[in-house]
Amino acid sequence: MDTYQDYSTKLVEEKELVRITGEQFDQMVAAGIWGDHSPIELWDGFLRLKNCRDWEDESIGHGDRHAAAIRRFARALFRQGVESVQVQLPIAIDQFSRPEPDLSILVPPLEQYDNRPPTAADVLVAVECGSSSLHFDLYERAPVLAAANIPTYIVVDLVHNIIEMFSNPNATQSCYETRQTLRDGDQLVLVLESYGTVQIPITDLLPATEKPQ
């Protein structure tokens, strides 16, 4: 075996890999197996490190702009009275997957999730803030969320400073049928079960663009 890549592809072809189930993952998280710092997702039975960096040249960590974008979005939602929100916490979208969207707007009341993670049916909107992870968020995460019928998926694109909103999931095709690009000056319009129509100016969602010195 020359590189890890050769090896891992052969592993996939030749052997039966045992997926970790959502329940096993929940138990491992509850047992504190990884400690608190790394955002680890369960991705079709495998453990995946979530990429929260702002810039490719940083070591794995949490970029300032990424964090700022999450805070802005949470603030904008609370200002509009949308309060059933969770940040970087798992959603149980199928038997082998526990992604952790940067923000998830859930069906209220929040109390029903005290003892179980929200399932796909509980999620109204999933939000990812993407810099280094932008390609993954747009092209690999989107199909998984569409397949789970998550009604709306928003990517806060911190590279181009735009918001991409995906809606009308086609679960059988694993894709969203509608994609809207919103810029500074536009309004993000969400029609949410239990909350009605929510409007947020895009300006409120995009943090400053300078790379810190």
């Binding site: 090896y7 592993l11 045992v18 039975g45 495998f46």
Partner: protein, 210 residues
């Protein structure tokens, strides 16, 4: 097994795959998150199902011949180890690295059966590892052999059920994950094994594979 597209994509970004470490794996076994006794190994931090087939059947099939050969080996090795400061075990988990816990079909371990702590032994205590291979032959040779060599296991036997031979690998070179010496024994030959006190014992290929 056709590669699931999501798994494929994960394998394309291997730097983001979080390997399960030995201590985490042991925790999963101790707390029952993973069922004890399941035919699972930890390879490069990923859970992998053991392949004990005789070339056919679904992955969970244990080939009859596989089972017979393992039993013969375990019985013979147990007898040979008596009073020589070592013992033989079957499907014993061995810690091979930070992210590998393998379960060779038969293992010869230094010490006494009563000594074993609840922890799994690591490679430094292992004298011999035996993999009985039919369906898993290619994987055992390409991947497991390298791991055993890299961990410093002094001797590995691969019992080749396809060609009816026993491959004897000895003298591990940790730096290159290779064994210096490789010989193939067939009907009529014997396989040597050096025990902790220096005694050399032999197992006839015909006793195992006839």
């Amino acid at each position: 097994m056709t590669a699931n597209p999501f798994v494929q994509s994960l394998m394309e970004h291997p730097d983001y795959l979080v390997p399960i470490r030995v201590d985490q794996y042991q925790h999963m076994l101790e707390t029952g998150i993973l069922p004890e006794g399941a035919p699972i190994e930890l390879i490069d931090g990923v859970l992998v199902r053991k392949d004990r087939r005789d070339g056919e059947g679904g992955i969970m099939t244990v080939g009859k011949r596989h089972r017979i050969v393992v039993t013969r080996l375990a019985t013979l090795l147990t007898m040979l180890c008596q009073s020589h400061d070592c013992y033989s075990a079957s499907q014993q988990p061995v810690i091979i690295s930070d992210t590998d816990v393998l379960e060779p079909d038969v293992t010869v371990i230094q010490g006494h059966l009563g000594d074993e702590s609840l922890e799994h032994p690591d490679a430094s205590m292992v004298l011999l590892v035996v993999e009985v291979a039919h369906s898993s032959l290619s994987f055992d040779r390409k991947t497991k052999l390298l791991k055993y060599a890299a961990a410093g296991v002094p001797r590995t036997w691969i019992v080749n059920l396809v060609d009816n031979t026993i491959e004897n690998y000895e003298d591990s070179i940790i730096e290159t994950s290779r064994y210096r010496s490789q010989t193939v024994m067939s009907s009529g030959d014997v396989c040597p094994l050096t025990l902790p006190d220096g005694t050399v014992v032999e197992i006839a290929v015909d006793e195992i594979l006839s």
